[in-house]
């Protein structure tokens, strides 16, 4: 009798998905049961038979046909819009205008400025809009994020485990969505403060906390780079949040925030839109699994 557990292990073995423990378990089962060995042989024979034809020879004209099409239609940067008709363009511009109005209203009505919690609203608006566009290869409102995802900078982010993990944190993305905070990261003194190994200890310092709420105290802080950081309004505002302070205390995060890769990212005009996009976060998570 081949039970479901053994069958699952045999199928897993066929597909190279077993863990070391599962392989050991299967080896024991095979050793103990002639029926198990027979079933393993059956499956192996079937897989060999299915795969025996191997790769087929493609017709000679296949590649030429595709290349002829490609050479007739060289790509432009906005290739996603190439196939749209005039009507589609009107719809696109109309929806883009509607999205801009929604964003403007959110920004105007939000106090403090809308940098947190707007992702869902924007995402919902985009989801509501997308069915109205017939062409499945047109993704309204997401081209900024897509542009970021295709940059060398995003590639570098994916390859930097610390930066990648940090940007997967919604609190960090929400803070970075603030343009003033991003600008502060271009300040050399602030970048030096973030790279300073004493930062984590200082973030627990009572003097620092008091300085966050008192500009005069901030000016008297004992470290010049920290003074720049505490005197920056956007950064000080972010530091008042316990969650953000905790993130900066996570090993490597503060330095990652001051890294050259991050500097390139914040100088990308599409980065803010990407930070607010669920797709950006999902791409980071998928990238983490691939790396």
């Amino acid at each position: 009798m081949i039970g479901p557990e053994l069958e699952a292990l045999l199928q897993g073995a066929l597909d190279n998905t077993l863990t070391a423990d599962e392989r050991a378990q299967l080896a024991r089962m095979l050793s103990d049961s002639p029926q198990a060995r027979e079933r393993a042989a059956e499956l192996s024979a079937l897989a060999g038979l299915i795969e025996s034809p191997g790769l087929a020879d493609a017709p000679a004209g296949l590649v030429d046909h595709v290349l002829a099409h490609v050479s007739r239609h060289p790509h432009a940067r906005l290739a996603t819009f190439q196939r749209g008709t005039a009507v589609n363009k009107k719809i696109l511009f109309g929806l883009a205008a509607a999205a801009a109005i929604v964003l403007a209203v959110i920004t105007y009505n939000s106090n403090p400025p809308a940098t947190v919690g707007t992702e869902a609203t924007i995402g919902a608006a985009q989801r509501a809009q997308s069915p109205q566009i017939a062409a499945q290869d047109v993704k309204l409102g997401d081209t900024s994020t897509q542009d970021v995802l295709q940059t060398e900078t995003f590639d570098a982010i994916l390859k930097d485990e610390t930066l990648r993990n940090m940007l997967q944190d919604s609190e960090m993305r929400a803070r970075l969505a603030n343009a003033d905070l991003r600008r502060s990261l271009e300040d050399d003194a602030i970048r030096r403060a973030l790279k300073d190994s004493s930062l984590a200890r200082r973030l627990d310092d009572e003097n620092l906390r008091q300085s966050l709420n008192n500009a005069e105290l901030a000016k008297k802080y004992d470290d010049a780079n920290m003074r720049a950081l505490l005197s920056n309004r956007a950064f000080a505002e972010a530091l008042r949040r316990q969650e953000f302070r905790n993130l900066l205390k996570t090993p490597g995060y503060a330095a990652a925030l001051a890294s050259d890769t991050m500097l390139r990212a914040i100088r990308d005009r599409n980065f803010e839109a990407a930070l607010k996009s669920q797709r950006f976060a999902q791409s980071l998570a998928r990238g983490a699994r691939v790396q």
Binding site: P53, L55, A56, D57, V66, H73, A76, V290
Partner: protein
């Protein structure tokens, strides 16, 4: 699966980026690199050389047209499989029932290929065509394209759990058709 058909992801990604800047020869490199495995997948899915060629060409053209929407956190070939399998499923949906038994699947161009091998290849193709397109797609992506459960799940937009169960059922059916396994439920020993 020990066969390797694929280049490195970063190399593919660089070619995608070059294609997007108008370097059409970069996309040509991707087509040349993957056309054979893509054609094989289409052929096993459709069982007909002409349809397989059309589906493969159409998939590459659609991929090129949609290149700007390619998510670089995916592998290029996984994304291509998704487009290709959708194209094949569209063809099978549009087909008249009698078309599904088309037998003009090409063999190897090797003149010494034996009649036995050709007969076996035909049997395998016919057995694959007896599976539903959804089950066939899982088998083809696993056994001819070497895709993992996760990659198949992404290509077909189904959960990995469904990939496993379809693969199990499809193999069982192919075993019955090709190796004379007893049908499930009729074999009291298993």
């Amino acid at each position: 699966m020990s066969r390797v058909y694929f280049s490195s992801d970063s190399d593919d990604l660089a070619l995608v980026r070059q294609s997007l800047t108008g370097q059409t020869e970069a996309f040509g490199t991707l087509v040349t690199r993957y056309h054979r495995v893509m054609y094989t997948v289409a052929l096993r899915m459709l069982g007909n050389a002409e349809d397989a060629q059309d589906a493969t060409q159409e998939a590459f053209v659609k991929a090129y047209q949609r290149l700007a929407s390619f998510d670089p956190s995916y592998r290029f070939y996984s994304w291509m499989y998704r487009i290709l399998v959708n194209e094949c499923l569209n063809v099978t949906r549009d087909r008249r029932p009698e078309d599904t038994l088309a037998e003009d699947t090409p063999g190897s161009s090797d003149p010494f290929d034996s009649a036995v091998a050709e007969e076996r290849r035909d049997q395998i193709n016919m057995a694959l065509l007896q599976l539903t397109p959804e089950y066939r797609a899982v088998v083809v992506l696993r056994h001819f394209a070497g895709q993992s459960y996760g990659e198949i799940a992404a290509a077909l937009a189904i959960p990995e759990k469904t990939v496993k169960s379809r693969l199990y059922s499809a193999r069982q059916r192919l075993g019955e058709l090709l190796l004379g396994w007893k049908e499930q439920g009729k074999d009291e020993d298993r």
